[in-house]
Symmetry: C2
Subunit: 520 residues, 2 copies
């Protein structure tokens, strides 16, 4: 495994063999320009990580069986450049308060006796601090912490680098959500897509409509209060992570119906009601509740964007309902039109200047969407879909290849997908590429709960994080011909170090690629 | 989910709707016949489980979305038969000290105000106590702990119900091994197959040959000392679980070579040595070391059986080695003959009266094996292999369908395999069935370590446990026509309860079959 190499890989990096030694008690961080509470807390956080014995340093992980362990001889002595004394932080523009899609995350880091980290943005400083922390490693004899002389000029390839967590199929504790945010910041991911409610349970505890979680949560202890949400938002904010709430409508809403059954559609078999389906698109009560709930949600979640779902609507239920059938007949609508109508009615219920993310079906049904809408592509045949969405002038979030609940996919398989590369291959040029703004690893909750969610997500989501941050792997460095963006060999070694790093920083990542160990 | 139903399903059980309430402070366990320290400790263990608030009781897990939660009306009042007062334990024969393949695990349990558990064997008493503990459940209003009047006559279908744990690809901590034994006893599994060393590391800390783990373990902290082993053996023994050590030879032994490279074969490409392969079958030092190590191992592990592996020998390495090539030429041996010779030479090195388990390759290579040898079938085309082994007069352990590292397999897929059914289908009669003595779920360690091993094994191994304990599912109860032993619907509900039970008893099992929750 590597020593002191960074995940995700920086865009430009030169590293020398010369190194500095690190002594926690003789090291100092100095802020020489703009500062703010967010910067101070970031410095505290990373000082702790860097200085704590069990912190961000990497140690040897793998022994090749049958081989002698590596022992550096003393000829490395002359590479020692003395002690690392200081990190100077230059934030050249005032702090911004809340992260956003177009934020600047670029930074420059120079590691020398007096190291420098420079950015125009607080978000860039955070990314640079993470890089700095990752560059420390133990000497082979474990007696010294070292960091190599180096220069990093870094920025993300995609703006939106997300992780979806589903807290409806199984409830996930607040502490595991915060742990997830820790891990995201280690991987420079910047959007926590909180798929907070769904058919199975409604853990969002509304102040306006307490019955929703009283009736819809699995248990009174399995809710997220206003305080919980504000804690998650703040914990994420100081790590440069946006929290994107998803309230999926009109499908995936059965848990709303525990408290408010009349907003759901009664599904029929013949003349008999056999259950409740998606929201009822022809009743005013439906839109009134959506409006009031979304209003509260948008007060609690500061992000400009809200995800309103729109996927997998059970059209057969709509078709089966006599009242809705009559409505469709009278208005000459197909069920697809009905879905479009529902979404069209819902969009104006959002706060002014809201921006919207939807699953691809909403685009597919022909709902008129503003150009700043993000369309999240998740289904099969994703290349055609991306091109269609882009050609219609919308922006794309890619998730099809990154469903973490599909167990087959160990990290090298997830690493093989690159949405811009696919679009370039399909169109033969780069015109549409900028509108592919990013992607998300999706951890749907059917088979994960508090006991296995962390190890199921990490390090597999790290593969997605690197694809979204780092430069495109040049063709020459690619390993598999059939799926051209599979990991280069160096990434396997870097991943081993990264897994041990996450484990030491409290994230119970699972093994990446096979046998091995992390030093205790 | 079910309430107070047992996993694995007892052979014969009648349960009434009438129930008793349970008050920990007014409940007593009485031993009326034989007793011994093992029985006393089992009673203490289960008293704690039954009496502790967070103990073995089951609670409601699933809410069907959109439906009202179940509320029993007061018409259940007249089913209340008063308080459970006592469990009388009748062990009719003296305690045995250590569990063994042919041990008696049958028991009879009668639940009434004064309940009775009867067995001729301490092992049967343990299984009955587990059943008793599993039958408690909370009333729907959560105010009462109840147990239904019932009678259970139970015994295992297969004698050997094992779980293989690989502690070489990743080191597994002692506490997770003990946790695994706890979970095994909850699932009435009775053999802990400890695949303790392999190519990647040698965590067994020998007293005679300390260099083996000094050079071969991943790290000085990642070893099992004599005391650790004796703790595992004792912890298992008092739960009626045998500990079966595997020291796989002559392949999978590269970690032996860190300390003793000359017992391994040098593999050649042309004239050049390119690495070390399997044990060298033509050197005396090899057999001398095996003899001495096995002698120590058989002192530390009291089981009559030892697993000596014999799988996946890299024959190409033997073929490439000039010294071995010459030996084969001089003695007119194929590499298959060489493998057979190696195993033949190894068998006499074991302690007197040892019994042996081998992987199927040893049988396939035609090594003469005594009739009490167990042949573990693990490869593809397992039906033919089982029939061949059985027709040659040996006994079979089945594992092919139960590799837990194959992630595709959620528990219903594991549940579909039934080795005796397969043999009956292949031969058309029941003659060979008794010699299929059992099977093992195998948790190979490439992708599991301390962080995910428990949730990866449980509850999937529970499916294997039930197939090995419970009666064959009658054809009428089978759910999938194409793989006839898939779980009946009641098993899905019982599994939900069992997962919550394991979690409450400290085993971090993963979700079984989809969305849901366990009450806190």
């Amino acid at each position: 495994m590597t020593q002191g190499e960074v995940w995700p890989k920086p865009q430009h990096e030169t590293t020398e063999n010369a190194y500095f030694t690190f002594n926690p008690s003789n090291f100092n961080v100095k802020v020489t320009n703009q500062t703010c509470a967010t910067l101070t807390s970031a410095i505290e956080r990373y000082s702790y990580i860097i200085k704590s014995k069990s912190g961000g340093q990497s140690r040897e992980r793998k022994i090749v069986p049958g081989s002698k362990r590596r022992r550096h001889s003393d000829d490395t002595q002359d590479l020692h450049q003395g002690a690392l004394q200081e990190l100077e932080i230059q934030l050249t523009e005032p702090c911004e308060d809340y992260p956003y899609l177009e934020m600047d995350e670029s930074y420059r880091l120079i590691v020398s006796a007096t190291s420098k980290l420079e950015s125009a943005s607080i978000w860039g400083i955070m990314r640079g601090l993470e890089t700095f922390a990752q560059k420390f490693y133990f000497s082979d004899d474990m007696n010294e912490i070292r960091i190599n002389a180096s220069q990093v000029d870094d920025f993300p390839r995609y703006q939106h680098r997300g992780l979806l967590l589903d807290t409806s199929r199984h409830y996930i504790s607040l502490s595991n959500i915060l742990k997830t945010l820790d891990a995201m910041s280690m991987n420079k991911m910047n959007v926590f897509h909180w798929h907070i409610v769904d058919d199975q349970s409604f853990p969002y505890q509304s102040e306006k409509f307490p019955e929703l979680s009283l009736q819809g949560a699995y248990h009174s202890s399995m809710v997220y209060t206003k305080e919980d949400i504000s804690r998650v938002v703040e914990y994420a904010r100081v790590r440069g992570i946006r929290v994107l709430p998803e309230f999926d409508v009109p499908g995936h809403t059965r848990s709303w119906g525990n408290a408010y059954p009349n907003i759901l559609t009664e599904c029929y078999r013949g003349d008999e009601v056999i259950g409740l389906g998606p929201m009822n698109p022809i009743r005013n009560v439906t839109y009134k509740l959506i409006r009031d709930v979304f209003q509260e949600v948008q007060t609690w979640f500061p992000d400009k964007y809200i995800h309103i779902g729109g996927d997998e609507v059970e059209m057969d239920c709509w078709r089966s309902n006599p009242e809705i059938r009559e409505y469709m007949r009278n208005n000459k609508l197909t069920v697809g039109d009905l879905h479009a109508m529902f979404m069209r009615n819902t969009l104006p219920l959002l706060a002014n200047n809201s921006k919207v993310i939807v699953w691809q079906e909403v685009f597919d049904e022909g709902v008129p969407l503003s150009n700043d809408t993000l369309v999240q592509v998740w289904k099969y045949l994703w290349i055609d879909e991306m091109v269609k969405v882009l050609e219609a002038g919308h922006r794309v979030l890619f998730s099809s290849s990154w469903y973490l609940d599909h167990l087959g996919g160990e990290w090298p398989a997830l690493y093989a997908a690159d949405p811009r590369q696919m679009v370039r291959d399909a169109t033969g040029n780069d015109e549409l590429l900028p509108a592919v703004v990013g992607g998300e690893a999706c951890m749907w909750g059917e088979m994960v709960d508090d006991r296995n969610v962390i190890s199921r997500v990490w390090p597999r989501a790290s593969a997605v994080a690197e694809k979204l941050w780092s430069a495109e792997v040049p063709a020459a460095g690619r390993r598999w011909r059939s799926s051209r963006d599979a990991p280069p060999l160096e990434a396997y070694r870097r991943m081993e170090e990264h897994v041990c790093r996450m484990i030491r920083r409290g994230v119970a990542a699972q093994p990446a690629s096979g046998p091995g160990f992390c030093l205790p």
